[in-house]
């Protein structure tokens, strides 16, 4: 990897886009630089499940040619992007982190892929994830865990740990994620990056392999707030192929970041997510960020959302119930794995043997839990009650947003924990999502951005802002403003403090050996 490439991969998507537009860098150079970076560090990080250098470089070459011919391209044209493996791609295998889909090449593109390709972004690979997006650590991936670029012995969050680690390790400036209970925001928190869960229905889910259809949402992953906004503007908007897609017209999220200002903004601190069970270093950075916002004209008030204490319980009934239905499609008939039991058997025997072999432990756990929650005699007590809690959570948010513009909390209770630390204790793992789950139950948008490192372990801490449904632009406004204020104070970006994963790379480049 050359010195020039080392500099390219550290550019934000916005800065890279500018250099592509001016002709200073070609998309082939940018794509090659990121592929070389992947080759240098992904053996340690394991953010990617699949890359295809030839394909990505050919896509980049086509963009360069169009630009050279004077064609007016989208500002992000030529910028590489990593894609979470939950999103189907017609030119790269798609597994959703599961053995049951190993090697599956989808016959179609997800709508977000169609939009990315139309804007000229260059898909650079598929990123690792917990199997079917079930997890908070990527340890449930059937292809082995992803490692946190800040400390390779720690989790990168989940389920979208691969996408977060890819941008944190400078393997891509942008990535797509999906967020069912925090799978974009919690990985952003533990990797010192930015992630946004849009309003439910704001981004098409067509071609996202469903975990829980009433909770899932695709969104952007990046190192800066502006980069997420730019990507959000590409992937958002109505899609007739997704009947839950909203028909609203959306303002430019990038403009919201560019005009970011918190003066007069009323910010509500969620009392239930500010104390017990939260690591001291997480709370310290969180409070500092609030002070900074207040010093710059925001009004900070405390609000209570009492129903949030039931949100995790409701989530772990609704999500498995929907997952058990959605995963019924893996029946060994139309796609994916087929296992024939010894001595043969009926199609049901084949199906049962296939699902036993193809699903990992967490997928089985949630399918069985969901089947239980939906079964006769238990439906009212579990699934029915959980849906009522959903109503209460929505009412709490509505009441809170009547008095404030945005809500705020730490994104997760702790910094990145060690790989393997929560093995064998599913409930402990589930508690990681305490601050992120409520937004999915209510369908509202949320952003996580870095606010510093925890004093006790030197690991990144994220802050989460939530806005009313359809008010995604408010998140970019407050997020963009806070990011700028923090970076002015630090004198650098947070991600620039991450360890160098390829020491010697620069020295070798300077000596001309690479």
């Amino acid at each position: 990897m050359s010195h020039h490439e080392h500099e390219i991969v550290r550019l934000s998507a916005a800065a890279l886009a500018e250099k592509l537009g001016s002709g200073e860098i070609t998309s082939q150079e940018a794509t090659r630089a990121h592929l070389d970076r992947i080759a240098a560090v992904d053996g340690d990080v394991h953010a990617f499940l699949h890359t295809n250098a030839e394909l990505s470089l050919a896509t980049a070459a086509a963009i360069d040619e169009r630009r050279a011919n004077g064609e007016q391209l989208h500002p992000l044209a030529g910028v590489p992007i990593a894609v979470k493996d939950v999103i189907v791609t017609n030119d790269m295998p798609t597994t959703s982190g599961s053995k049951i889909l190993e090697g599956w090449l989808p016959p179609y593109d997800a709508t977000v892929m169609v939009k990315l390709r139309a804007a000229g972004l260059v898909p650079i690979g598929k990123t690792n994830m917990d199997e079917f997006a079930m997890g908070s650590s990527t340890e449930h991936s059937a292809y082995g865990p992803t490692h946190n670029p800040w400390d390779l012995e720690r989790i990168p969050g989940g389920s979208g740990g691969g996408s977060a680690a890819a941008v944190a390790a400078f393997e891509a400036p942008l990535a797509l994620g999906s967020d069912t209970g925090g799978s974009i925001r919690q990985p952003a928190h533990v990797t010192g990056t930015v992630g946004v869960k849009p309003t439910y229905g704001g981004v098409s889910r067509y071609g996202a392999i469903a975990l829980a259809s009433s909770l899932d949402q695709i969104g952007p992953v990046s190192r800066t707030v502006l980069d997420s906004a730019l990507l959000h503007d590409v992937i958002g908007g109505h899609d007739p192929r997704d009947s839950t897609s909203l028909t609203d017209s959306w303002p430019s999220m990038a403009d919201a970041v560019r005009g970011a200002d918190v003066a007069g903004l009323k910010i509500g601190v969620i009392r239930e997510l500010d104390g017990d069970g939260f690591q001291p270093g997480v709370l310290a950075r969180f409070r500092e960020a609030l002070d900074l916002l207040a010093a710059n004209g925001a009004e900070i008030v405390e609000v209570s959302l009492p129903s949030l204490q039931y949100a995790i319980a409701a989530y772990y009934l609704i999500m498995p119930a929907e997952a058990s239905s959605n995963l019924a499609k893996f029946d060994s008939v139309r796609f994916g794995l087929r296992v024939n039991p010894p001595g043969g058997g009926t199609v049901e025997d084949v199906m049962s043997a296939t699902r036993e072999k193809g699903f990992g432990a967490e997928a089985k756990r949630r399918i069985i839990l969901g089947t239980y929650a939906l079964s006769a005699g238990y439906y009212d007590a579990y699934y029915g009650s959980a849906q009522k809690v959903r109503t209460l959570v929505q009412r709490d948010f509505a009441a809170a947003f009547a008095g404030v513009d945005v809500l705020v909390s730490p994104t997760a209770p702790t910094t990145a924990f060690k790989l393997g630390q929560n093995d064998g204790d599913p409930m402990a793992m589930y508690l990681n999502d305490i601050a992120t789950i409520p937004a999915n139950l209510a369908g509202i948008p949320g952003i996580s951005l870095p606010v510093g490192l925890a004093a006790e372990d030197g690991l990144p801490v994220g802050i989460q802002f939530l806005a009313p449904a359809r008010e995604d632009a408010r998140l970019y406004r407050v997020g963009g403003a806070l990011e700028r204020l923090l970076e002015e104070r630090w004198g650098h970006t947070l991600i620039s403090q991450a360890p160098d994963l390829a020491p010697g790379e620069m020295t070798a480049a300077q000596e001309g050996a690479v």
Partner: protein
Amino acid sequence: MSEITQEQVAHLASLARIALTPQEIESLTTELSSIVDNVATVAEVATADVPATSHPIPLQNVYRADVPGTTLTPEQALAGAPDHDGSRFRVTAILGEEQ
């Protein structure tokens, strides 16, 4: 403590079409009991006067014009199938001998 038995888990596994091993049934029984104890708290506040919400942003009557759209070709639809005969998915026997 919820009373989830191994027999119950085995039954759920058959409903979910997963041929769990006896070891998996044993560990899942313990784990499910613990999880269900935690999630059962929803019943504390789910009183009769609270309506259920199934969808975060309710939409009604989402229709499209009744015109054929672009669909997969049979070749595309069959491309990822474990087994097919060129125009149809092929499966093993639907019925067992006792049926």
